[in-house]
Amino acid sequence: MKHFTLLFLFLFAAGEFLMAQSNSIQIPENEIERVENIIDSFYHYASSGLAIKSNRLECNIPEHRQYLLQTENLNFPERALNINKEQKQTYIRLYALNKLATAFYDRKEYAKSTLYWEEALIISLQNDFTYEELHSIRPALNNNFFLAGDYLHAMKISTDGLAKSEMLKDTNRMIHFNNVIGYIHMKQKNFIQAEQYFNNELQLACFVNDRSSEAHALFNQADLALAQRKYDIAIVFLQNSQEAYQSSKSPYLFALSEREAYISNKLSEVYKQKADFQNALKYALISIKNIEEKKAGFNAYDRAGYYINGGAIYNSLQKPDSAILFLLAGMKIAQQITHREHMRDACEQLALAYAQKKKFDSAYIYHTLFSRIKDSINNENNLYEILQQEANLKIQQQQQFQKLAIEKQKLGRNIIIAVAIFSFIIIGFLYNRLQLRQKNRYQMQLNMQQNELFNSIAVIQDKERKRIAEDIHDSLGSLLSAAKLKLSSLKEEQTNSSNKESENWQVTFQLLDEASAELRNISHNIMPASLSKLGLVAALKNLISQMSSSSAIQMNFSAHDFKERINEATEMSIYRIVLELINNVVKHANPTKTTVQLIKYPDYINISVEDNGKGFDFESEMVSKKGIGLDNILSRVNYLKGKLDIDTSPGRGTTVIIDIPNPV
């Protein structure tokens, strides 16, 4: 969602060129060929000097003509008339580059688009086409770099543009570039510089009495305040900005209303951040009123956003009925443009609203939908899949409603038969229970999600451990060995070295050997190689024989019926579980003997770690939660859907038994 807001803001900021771009017609699929055709006809007419008459380009092919009429915002045809003959050829090339770059931009192929714009920039610099340079090429290039996150180049393009406009005393362009540069600074969190440029912009706008630019500058200042979480200042700026827009003499009424809605929505979001929901609602309603009065002009993305924002505020005000009304409207629009982020937000809020209304079945459905859309956004699944799931859910919903209706009918018959008061009590009781059950189910879904998140982190950590261990071991280890080999052949070449020299050689080789040994230790501790190469049983055997030889505890290990390896993620988890259990024994139990045993049953794996140490008082340890390090073990066991049982009491040793179902 951020990306879209940013895109919109930037389109908003980049001035008339991009505004016109966003309003221009959609270019069909074979647009490159079309552009070439258009350029051909443009070339033909422009070079003959016949067809360009006062802003209109006559063209034989009607659709080309329509296309050209809608994209002549750069005044190319008009300006082509005023250019001398020698420059005409070059100018047509510039026009062609501009069209190509724009076409690629519309296709979202920004890198190619940038390439063409850069060529256009060179041509315009060589031929002094300053109007095109400052109005179209630099703004477009800046926009492309900005979208790619290449702030350095964006900054260079725009500061050069600013210098040039200052040289030419072109106030309009100075305003534009100050705005753009300020915005880039803001994105990089250089707030002080950003403020300077926005101030320049404001002063220039006031100086030429351009209310619309003034409003724009004020809006930027508000954005800047927001980025620094200065909400009150942001509100003042936004209100001033609103006022300035209203008094500006924009020729387009529609644009005015769009701005008003946009700023109101922003204000509403700021108040929401401040938890001032009354004011948030007031401004959200202004935005929504604007779009409802002039539906056609607004883009669907904003419309959906306004409705969902309104719904969320009603939720915060605990007015679920109004919230649902808005949210459903927002959801519908978001579905039309299949905008997943909006759909996700709408579903989340809808679930909340229904939960407030204690309609837990609907809340459950929307929450499920919410988490599916969220997952699909995370997994970059295609939109088709969501729609499919949504349809399935709707069928489920329908079925549930039907079932409920049938049940209600049956209940109704009973009421007639049974004594009225008695029945009412029963219904009340049943309804309560149903509600409670649905509430539990909703709660369970929430818990499950949190649990899954935690556990997926553990799995990712295991994978990372494996990768890091292998990297250290293989790459660094091999390099060290190579270094040692090189050194040893160097040493051989120096046949008659002094005592001191040969002593130095000795020390160097020792250091290298120590380095390799240390490296192997580190890698082994992160994730032992035998685990991935030979499997769980081999790795545990290794671990326990090492632990046994380095401590006074006699450790035994046995594994039974592990004929094949189990999946790697489970192996890594079980390995870490056993490792933690043994570490606990060594650290706390002070035993003389420890037995670790793994048994593979057809449907589960039994792990037992037994010691004859001092044991502990299970209940009080669980309450104080001091240093038993059980948390990690428990969460891993939970993730594997296993059971953990601890049998211990002071002075009687400890037995930990874990059963883990076989991974499918």
């Binding site: 292998e470 071991h473 293989d474 790459s475 280890g477 091999s478 390099l479 060290l480 060995s481 190579a482 040692k484 080999l485 090189k486 040893s488 052949s489 051989e492 080789f509 290298l512 050997d513 390799s516 040994a517 490296l519 192997r520 082994h524 032992p528 190689a529 035998s530 190469k533 030979l534 081999a538 790795a539 055997k541 290794n542 024989s545 090492q546 046994s548 030889s549 035994n556 290990f557 046995s558 039974h560 019926d561 003997k593 037995t595 045993q597 048994i599 049953y601 039994n606 037992s608 037994e610 049982d645 049998d647 009491s649 009687r652 037995t655 038994i657």
Partner: protein
């Protein structure tokens, strides 16, 4: 005298080149092949004749462990010397079981490398000192853990079962919980493959496990 034909397999080019230049200085050795992974090794040994293969364990695709198994199967005459950074006991013993002739750690110097190749060509084994220690350690430890099939606690539980103790009484006698006793019982049955208590006790008597 014929030179000893050596094949070197390691996915790190720097290291491979280092070993090659080191071995080329020996007049009796000829490095006639190099490979970056197991598949390349298998292709080369089908086409050409080699006496010794120096094998790294960690290689992309077919790793050193699988490659060693395949070489043993297809060309058992080639002497395999592992040259690796892995010093895990289990990996070393796996390689010894597969039947490699030598196991060197990558921090070996030139002298050790030459000694290893000469020795395996005479039909003997060569292991780095560190590797030898690990093998020896493994031998002494494995004996103690492999013989014991039931754990001490399991033996205690079984003896009490033989005395017709119920799970409750066993729990009380051993100061453990009922559920732990249940788990032990289940584990004993699984390990001895007995189907019922009678079968278990029969097994225990025959092995002399009851006191």
């Amino acid at each position: 005298m014929n030179k000893i034909k050596i094949l070197i397999a390691d996915d790190h080019t720097i290291l491979r080149d280092g070993i090659v230049s080191l071995l080329q200085t020996e007049p009796s050795f000829a490095v006639t092949g190099t490979a970056g992974n197991g598949y390349e090794v298998m292709e080369l040994i089908q086409k050409n004749e080699y006496n010794v293969c120096l094998l790294d364990i960690n290689m992309p695709g077919l790793d050193g462990i699988e490659t060693a198994k395949l070489i043993k199967e297809k060309k058992p005459d080639i002497k395999i010397i592992m040259l690796t950074t892995y010093n895990d006991g289990e990996i070393i013993s796996e390689m010894v079981n597969i039947g490699v002739a030598g196991y060197l750690l990558k921090n070996s110097d030139k002298g050790e490398l030459i000694e290893a190749i000469s020795k395996v060509m005479k039909g003997r084994h060569y292991f780095s000192e560190e590797v030898e220690n690990i093998i020896f350690q493994g031998l002494t430890q494995h004996k103690s853990s492999d013989v014991v099939m039931l754990t001490e606690r399991e033996l205690e539980v079984m003896n009490l079962l033989a005395k017709e103790y119920t799970n409750d009484k066993i729990a009380a006698a051993l100061h453990i919980s009922y559920r732990t006793v249940e788990t032990h019982r289940k584990n004993i049955m699984q390990k001895t493959k007995a189907h019922n208590l009678a079968g278990l006790l029969k097994y225990a008597y025959s092995k002399g496990l009851l006191k």
